[in-house]
């Protein structure tokens, strides 16, 4: 308890000592490396100086991307103006997958290397990833209505993104329904890793099922190779959205670290009050 408390008070999750029953062989080596790179205090200093620059860059790039996509990019010769939805839809779809990969890597870092920031990173990324997945679904469906004539088709790609969204929901639900935060982190990390193993299988199965059930009505996705006039704005927007995610993730991690410090301080205060009560009683 005492040791766990010490770590908690350093703003770290209490996990690290309580679960050190199965020590890793390379523990001492990784420890020095991670301590240098991942000390939360160091992270707070570093992120504070980096965050404004990333956020500013994201705003600039997205602004330029919006200008390109509305005023420079020509209407697509097949889909007309509706193709402009692509410039926000594709970045959201890209982030929905990239963020899950980040969550899986962070979960691996937590379970295997007990990286002090890994859990903070995973916890901060999940709601962001869920939001981008939601946006990818909504913009996709708004794009589908004028082009396919329906808001939703059980196309392989759409279906697998929908299931990805459910995986995000599962991660949030599991974490929120376990009271012990350190335990919740580790169990959520296991679920994230199970998810990353299952995702390719889900993708494969959905593709397989589709070739059997669906007539070739939807195999237009992507269509003919994209013209550079459309590709450049798309890439600019993708870079902008990625920068924006990095800024949001950094901010969410900072918030989470501060939240843990507040919690540690509350604990310290309660403990002190109890100690003084005991002293007064004697």
């Amino acid at each position: 308890m005492q040791q766990g408390y010490l770590l908690a008070s350093a703003g770290l999750p209490v996990v690290h000592l309580r679960f050190s029953a199965q020590p890793l062989r390379s523990f001492s080596m990784t420890q020095t490396l991670t301590q240098r790179l991942a000390n939360p205090t160091r992270f707070m200093e570093l992120s504070a100086s980096v965050l404004p620059w990333v956020a500013g860059a994201a705003a600039l790039v997205i602004g330029y991307g919006l200008y390109l996509s509305f005023f420079v990019a020509p209407p697509d010769y097949l889909q007309g103006e509706t193709a402009r939805i692509m410039f926000i839809h594709v970045p959201c779809a890209w982030l929905s997958m990239a963020v899950y990969a980040i969550i899986a890597m962070s979960s691996f870092g937590l379970l295997v290397f007990r990286h002090p920031l890994a859990d903070v990173s995973a916890k901060a990324a999940v709601p962001l990833g869920a939001a981008f997945t939601f946006l990818a679904l909504v913009t996709g469906s708004l794009w589908g209505r004028p082009t396919w004539g329906t808001y939703w088709v059980w196309d392989a790609r759409l279906t697998s993104v929908l299931i990805l969204f459910f995986l995000y929901l599962g991660l949030m639900a599991l974490r929120s329904s376990i009271e012990d935060e350190a335990l919740a982190s580790k169990l959520t990390a296991i679920l994230a890793l199970v998810g990353i193993v299952m995702l390719p299988i889900i993708k494969f199965s959905v593709n397989f099922g589709n070739t059997l059930h669906q007539p070739a009505s939807v195999i237009r996705a992507g269509g003919p190779t994209i013209d550079t006039a459309l590709l450049v704005p798309l890439l600019v927007m993708a870079v902008g959205f990625t920068l924006m995610f990095v800024a949001m993730h950094l901010k969410a991690m900072r918030n989470e670290i501060m939240r843990r410090r507040v919690k540690a301080l509350q604990l310290a205060e309660v403990e002190r009050a109890q100690a003084s009560q005991l002293a007064a009683a004697e």
Partner: protein, 59 residues
């Protein structure tokens, strides 16, 4: 929406898509900023009352 843009017959879908993205991302950014302020306020509150984390005395 008069920005000198003619987005054709499906303009409402385009505006709806961009609108949803703006609203959701705006909400996330607002939540991040407000949440950050709240945590900073609580930390400052503790500092004002002189409650310290143990590691602070170690450093």
């Amino acid at each position: 929406m008069d920005l000198g843009l003619d987005l054709g017959p499906h303009a409402s879908f385009i505006w709806a898509a961009y609108g949803v993205v703006t609203v959701v991302i705006g909400a996330m950014i607002a939540w991040l900023i407000l949440d950050g302020r709240e945590q900073e306020r609580r930390l400052a509150d503790f500092a004002a009352r002189g409650v310290k984390r143990r590691s602070a005395s170690r450093a």
